[in-house]
């Protein structure tokens, strides 16, 4: 923070984006600041505090669940809408992050904008087919969550654009979901692995399956072979075997591969 020359506290999205794009300021957006307040890049000269920007609401829009990027972990944990969505995995994940004091400060937008292997929401959002709305120099842009970190996006959220909303599609509302964080203690920020399993069942058949894995790399990834195996109805053991192979290929190590595939087997059996 030693290079900071300005403190800006805009009250609208438009104003915030204008400040980000103004070359004079070399600004970076910060919400809760828990991830980056102590580790701001040296090139940043303006601390752009977005706490007054009205992007905190959690609401239903067109059937989709829309979470404002400024919503804190605590607000997501306590939100009735989030608790009632996809077996409550969003609230459950928020509650499993670090401590109450961190949950009071940290926001979902910050957690998503700054890729880090231990961030809890990216794996959840990947497993729920989420979309992200960004305010950019040329207006709003809606991107698939899985494309947020790709170089093809051409944007650096928080530096030249602002994440304003996270959209969870209506189709996932009734999905059977499980979020698991394997860590030394419940409140540890560091995790050995984070997992989001989700499935949609119509009648006796599974129609959708997502297996998302976090904490192994800065960006979470999906396990397509495990998803295919479960959809094909090959049985929980075979699907878990496919998942273990994918984890080994991702260099998860024996403990993580073994623990995660066992947990997946349990989930697969529960939905199969």
């Amino acid at each position: 923070m030693k290079n900071i020359k300005y403190y800006a506290f805009p009250s609208t999205v438009k104003e915030a984006v204008a400040l980000l794009l103004n070359k004079k300021y070399k600004a970076m957006a910060l919400a809760g600041g828990t991830l980056v307040a102590k580790t701001l890049p040296e090139t940043v000269e303006t601390y752009l505090d977005i706490k007054n920007v009205p992007i905190k609401n959690i609401k239903l829009l067109g059937g989709n669940l829309v979470i404002g990027a400024g919503a804190t972990f605590d607000e997501i944990d306590r939100s009735k809408l989030c608790r009632g969505w996809a077996d409550g995995v969003l609230s459950g994940a928020a509650a499993k992050c670090s401590s109450q004091l961190i949950r009071n400060m940290a926001t979902i937008g910050g957690n998503v904008a700054r890729p880090h292997s231990f961030n809890i929401f990216p794996v959840v959002l990947l497993g729920l087919d989420a979309k992200v709305r960004l305010a950019t120099c040329s207006g709003n842009r809606l991107v698939e969550f899985q494309d947020l970190y790709s170089s093809g996006l051409g944007l650096r959220p928080g530096m030249d654009s602002l994440i304003t909303e996270i959209i969870i599609p209506v189709k996932t509302k009734k999905w059977k979901c499980e979020f698991i964080k394997l860590a030394k203690t419940e409140s540890s920020w560091e995790s050995y692995i984070t997992l989001l399993f989700s499935a949609e069942k119509k009648g006796k058949a599974l129609t959708q399956v997502r297996v998302a894995v976090g904490a192994l790399s800065p960006r979470p990834f999906r396990a397509p072979e495990a998803e295919k195996a479960l959809l094909a109805g090959t049985g929980a053991a075979a699907a878990a075997g496919a998942f273990a192979s994918e984890l080994e290929a991702a260099r998860a190590g024996e403990y993580r591969s073994s623990a995660a595939s066992s947990l997946f087997k349990r989930f697969a059996a529960s939905v199969g």
Partner: protein, 168 residues
């Protein structure tokens, strides 16, 4: 139009904050965190423990919710309202939580207590009759190395009862 940007001069940001109900002009250093700024100005109830956001000793209530003073850049408190432990009660007129902590024997070395009481106060403000699980969750960011948290949980329960009684 309301001014929404302040510039640093000679390494200092001039900010306006309300601390324990009193409006103050503070000169905070560039890169300074709320914990250090408040202590420098005399609010010593905020404690410096880990300085990495893990122990909760530096908790203060900023704009209605407890935050970690060691992770909140001081400048971000501009135009904000802060409550430190000094704003809760005094030796002669303690807050119900302060009384309850002493009566329950929840205070040993005392270093973690300001943060713990502020977290408890926020809990009771929004959940006047909390369950044990809710108390433990609200205090999960306030580490105590002296006790096993049993007495603090008891103290919060007792304070909740006392506060409920005074409201009747």
């Amino acid at each position: 139009m309301k001014k929404s940007i302040i510039e640093m001069h000679k390494g200092i940001f001039e900010i306006t904050v309300t601390v324990n109900g009193e409006k103050k002009e503070l000169a905070v250093k560039n890169g300074e965190f709320l914990l250090d700024a408040l202590r420098r100005y005399g609010w010593k109830g905020i404690k410096k423990g880990c300085d990495t956001g893990d122990c909760g000793s530096c908790a203060v209530i900023l704009n209605g919710r407890p935050v970690l003073g060691c992770l909140a850049p001081a400048v971000t408190a501009h135009n904000g309202e802060i409550t430190t432990i000094e704003g809760l009660g005094t030796v002669h007129a303690p807050h119900a939580l302060q009384e309850a902590f002493v009566e329950a024997g929840a205070v040993q070395c005392g270093f973690c207590i300001p943060g713990m009481i502020l977290s408890s106060r926020h809990l009771l403000d929004r959940t006047p009759d909390p369950t044990e699980a809710e108390i433990r969750k609200a205090l999960d960011g306030n580490l105590c190395r002296c006790t096993g948290y049993v007495k603090q949980v008891e103290a919060v329960k007792n304070a909740a009862k006392k506060l409920a009684g005074t409201k009747k």
